[in-house]
């Protein structure tokens, strides 16, 4: 088995810096889950087609399963664990819970981050815009109806 060079990275995740040593053939998803034990981000398909691996890089949603960890030096990464502050749910998380937008919960971290990114860019989205913003996140349980309602409940609220 080819011996690969190991890279020392400094990853900024949820406002914390982490020293990571890794060979290059690892995705950001693997490093987050296996090295940093941030298991909130999930692998649902491994090919970028489901959105369960969604994290924010410099505030923008990306597929962490298609992102090389070694390319993330100097970038700001936000995972689902970075939303709640001091044990209190972020308003988006609270809205998902209130509106029953979570059933099995596997797609929820990615879905919540996609909604978070949308509301940061557009604080007052209409239904069509919400559906398009989360159109890359697959949910098998909810039919999306209450997810949309949860996001709509936050639209227009100054934050």
């Amino acid at each position: 088995m080819k011996k690969m060079k190991r890279y020392s990275l400094t990853l900024t995740v949820n406002n914390e810096t982490h020293a990571v040593v890794t060979p290059p053939n690892r995705t950001l998803l693997e490093v987050l889950r296996d090295d940093l034990h941030l298991t909130g981000t999930k692998e649902g398909c491994g090919e970028g087609a489901c959105g369960s691996c969604t994290v924010l890089v410099d505030g923008q949603p990306v597929r962490s399963c298609l992102t090389l960890a070694v390319a993330m030096e100097g970038r700001t990464i936000t995972t689902i664990e970075g939303l709640a502050q001091g044990g209190r749910l972020h308003p988006i998380q609270a809205a998902f819970v209130e509106h029953h937008a979570i059933q099995c919960g596997f797609c929820s971290p990615g879905m919540i981050l996609a909604a978070y990114a949308l509301l940061n860019e557009n604080p007052n989205p209409g239904e069509a815009e919400i559906r398009r913003a989360i159109s890359g996140n697959v949910c098998r349980c909810t039919g999306y109806a209450k997810i949309v309602k949860a996001v709509q409940s936050l639209a227009g609220e100054g934050r």
Binding site: M1, R33, H37, L38, T39, G40, T41, K42, E43, G44, C45, G46, E47, A49, C50, S52, T79, I80, E81, L83, A84, L89, Q93, A94, F96, V97, E98, H99, H100, I102, Q103, C104, G105, F106, C107, S108, P109, I112, I130, R131, R132, I134, S135, G136, N137, V138, C139, R140, C141, T142, G143, Y144, A145, K146, I147, V148
Partner: protein, 760 residues
């Protein structure tokens, strides 16, 4: 009607905050000390004899801690039923589908495990294979198992009344063929298993499951250890939808690797493995012949259904029966003959699926629509004419105690504007209706009942111990709701220990739509047991009768005189101070016919209760591209009693997505010589947020006499009736009946072209 504090309300679920923060742990999230990575070697051939397996090079690779083949596990064959024991967890003689497990390794990391797999040398003798049911049943076809000549795995025959007489008396008779290829669960969470043994030989194992007790027994058998040494642990589960109920080779492989390596092992399936190596849904070909009188009432029906079961039995007898049973429950049919065949082919194994039998249910409804058209009766009226009623017996002799189908049809018709729309919409704009019914559980032998315990703490809090499992639908919350409601506590006062076979008593599991009915009833009874004991104490202290008391707001008080009260905590401490332990127990076994058997005796009470419902869907079809825009879907479902309306709506909405939007428009597996060409999410297309229509949900309550607070199942029926409604709506829009599903755009374009040709 009792007034409830918690039941029937929409309080936050107890489990979703942890899912919102990412703290909830799924099987693949687990990390155990010195844990190894497990990987499975799979057959590249659809049918082949295994001549030899050489694992020596893999075993020598540094970092590899265990390698196993069939000789480590033994050759015992397992099956859901005693008469369907045909699957070894690692095969000794033959592989029967591309992707079947052949060997496995556990290594210190994934790269090493993958390298080790590549070093395992398997010698195969390739055998001829069969990929279609016709080829499989033909004389001289290669036989997958000696036990099933002509590869006919299961045959179910149900014959009631006199269909010849019924057809002779019919005003109209029609016969059609309906078909659909395989679809699949595509749960959000790919399968994963983690296992570890302790010094005493006890195994702890975590995996997504629809019933931990159903996993524990086969594990105990194959590991040759008693049941009390098998701990299938509670874990957050990312969807089941009818799958994940049976023991999986992955479970057994992980356990044996862990035992051999003497270290914890975790196997995480890729999305492809989840599609190919767990279960899929059956492909169906259904021939239906139906006769109706001038009023559209069905006088006779004959159905012959062939289902492609893949390479092993799995839940074969159940799968072969359920599509028929749903229809015989939903619609009256006094004279009916059903023959169901499950056929084996060299393809991945099929099991029960929430949308099981779209080519069956849609066929029944298509015929009602077409015959109604000939009679001048609209589809909704046809449903009303044939709807199941409370007090009926189904053809296979289940008594139907509660049934709100008629109410569901009427209300869904009103909400969707059926009368204003049907027959009055512009071209390529259509509306359709589907009705279905799902049994709330079925006879499961010694696994058919559920038991719950309740432990009380001296400060008034409780712990409920139950085998009920939550796949995401909200069962954990249901248990807490019921216990808290009965005892006048808040959900925060209730701790839950569930779905852990070390501690929790047996329960049928969730895949047969019975957790609310059977499990919920057991919890309710356990809570009432506690309440009786607490009331006895309080009554003694107050000098009143026990029936004069109420429990609410953490207190027990005299109903007519609420100032006379004591906290529940106090009642508990009084018991303890009298040297009396206080706890609760309840168990529920449905009163079903124990002699009913899927194949040998498919008659008798199947289930104590049945859900019923109807869905109406409105669509617009682009005649040039065949694409379907779904405008609105309305679902009305008799759920008995809505324990939690928003949770139930969530089931309706998810069901419409899975059965209708996906099942009718985009979901199908594509094949090449027994290989799935679209196992991943970029190829197997499930609905996205941007695809879904507006959904209206109507909850119908008939308060079933046996269900807890009147509740029945609510999770599967809408998925089916949505499929039927989509089919009807598209057929209505295009003016052509569709008999092959899903109704993808190419089929619509072809149908429109052919219609134009025949017009000319």
């Amino acid at each position: 009607m009792e007034k409830f504090t918690l039941l029937g309300k929409n309080r936050k679920r107890v489990d979703t905050a942890a899912k919102a923060t990412g703290e909830a742990l799924f099987s693949a999230d687990l990390s155990l000390p010195r844990m190894l990575v497990g990987k499975v070697l799979r057959s590249p051939h659809p049918h082949a004899r295994i001549l030899a397996i050489d694992t020596s090079k893999a075993e020598k690779l540094p970092g590899v801690k265990a390698v196993i083949t069939a000789k480590d596990i033994g050759g015992d064959k397992w099956g859901v039923f005693r008469y369907t024991q045909d699957q070894q967890f690692l095969p000794t003689e033959k592989v029967r589908y591309v992707g079947e497990e052949v060997a496995a390794v556990a290594a210190v990391d994934e790269d090493t495990a993958l390298e080790a797999l590549a070093l395992i040398d398997v010698q195969y003798e390739v055998l001829p294979s069969v990929f279609t049911m016709a080829d499989a049943m033909a004389d001289g076809a290669p036989q997958l198992h000696d036990a099933y000549p002509n590869n006919i795995n299961v045959r179910v025959k149900i014959d009631v009344g006199d269909i010849e007489k019924g057809f002779n008396e019919s005003y109209l008779v029609r016969e059609d063929l309906f078909s659909a290829p395989e679809d699949t669960y595509c749960q959000a969470e790919p399968y994963a298993v983690a296992a570890q043994f302790d010094q005493a030989g006890n195994i702890e194992i975590w995996m997504p499951n629809a019933g931990p007790h159903m996993k524990a027994k086969p594990l105990a058998n194959v590991l040759k250890i008693p049941l009390n040494k098998v701990r299938v642990r509670k874990i957050t589960i990312g969807g089941a939808f009818g799958g994940r109920s049976e023991i999986s080779p992955a479970d057994v492989i992980c356990a044996f690797l862990a035992r051999k390596a003497r270290r914890p092992v975790k196997i995480v399936y890729s999305r492809e493995e989840n599609t190919v190596a767990t279960r899929q849904a059956h492909a169906l070909v259904t021939r239906i012949k139906t006769g109706v009188d001038r009023e559209g009432k069905v006088l006779a029906r004959e159905i012959i259904c062939h289902m492609d079961g893949g390479a092993y039995s799995s839940t074969g007898p159940i799968a072969t029966s359920v599509p028929f049973l749903c229809m015989e429950q939903a619609y009256r049919m006094d004279n009916v003959r059903f023959t169901g065949y499950r056929i084996l082919t060299n393809k991945p194994i099929r099991g029960m699926f929430r949308v099981h039998g779209r080519a069956f249910a849609c066929g029944v409804d298509v015929q009602l629509d077409r015959m109604g058209e000939e009679l001048g009766i609209d589809p909704l009226t046809m449903r009303l004419r044939n709807a199941r009623q409370a007090g009926d017996y189904t053809p296979t002799r289940s008594y139907v105690a509660s049934c709100g189908l008629t109410e569901a049809i009427i209300r869904v018709g009103e909400k969707s504007g059926w009368k204003e729309k049907f027959g009055k919409l512009p071209p390529y704009h259509g509306i359709g209706i589907g009705c279905n019914s799902v049994q709330t559980g079925f006879p499961m032998g010694i696994r058919g009942g559920s038991q719950a315990f309740i432990k009380l703490n001296e400060d008034g809090g409780i712990t409920v111990i139950t085998g009920i499992v939550d796949n995401g639908q909200g069962n954990d919350n249901m248990v807490v709701q019921i216990a808290a409601e009965e005892l006048g506590l808040t959900p925060d006062d209730v701790q839950l220990i569930s779905a852990d076979t070390e501690v929790t008593p047996s329960d049928p599991g969730s895949y047969s739509m019975c957790e609310t009915f059977i499990g919920g009833n057991a919890v309710r009874l356990a809570a009432r047991d506690v309440k009786r004991k607490l009331f006895r104490i309080a009554a003694g202290e107050f000098g009143t009768g026990e029936d004069e008391l109420t429990a609410r707001d953490r207190k027990i008080f005299v109903t007519k005189n609420p100032e006379i009260s004591m906290s529940i905590a106090k009642a508990v401490r009084i018991a303890l101070s009298r040297n009396e332990s206080i706890s609760g127990e309840g168990s529920y076994w449905p009163d079903v016919d124990a002699k009913r058997e899927w194949v040998k005796n498919p008659y008798g009470q199947l289930s104590e209760a049945f859900s019923f419902g109807a869905v109406i869907v409105e669509v617009k079809v682009d005649p040039e591209t065949g694409q379907v825009e779904v405008l609105e879907a309305t679902a009305a479902q008799d759920v008995g009693f809505a324990l939690h309306p928003q949770v139930i709506e969530g089931q309706f909405e998810g069901g419409i997505a899975m059965g209708g939007q996906g099942g009718m428009l985009t979901e199908f597996l594509q094949w090449h010589e027994g290989r799935v060409l679209n196992p991943s999410q970029s190829g197997y297309l499930v609905p996205l947020a941007i695809d879904m229509p507006k959904i209206n949900s109507i909850i119908v309550e008939t308060i079933d006499p046996k269900g807890p607070y009147g509740a029945k199942e609510a999770g599967m029926s809408v998925a089916m009736s949505a499929a039927q409604a989509y089919c009807g709506a598209i057929s209505n829009a295009v003016g052509v009946s569709f008999h092959d599903y899903p109704i993808t755009p190419d089929k619509i374009v072809k149908a429109i072209e052919e219609k134009k040709k025949t017009k000319k």
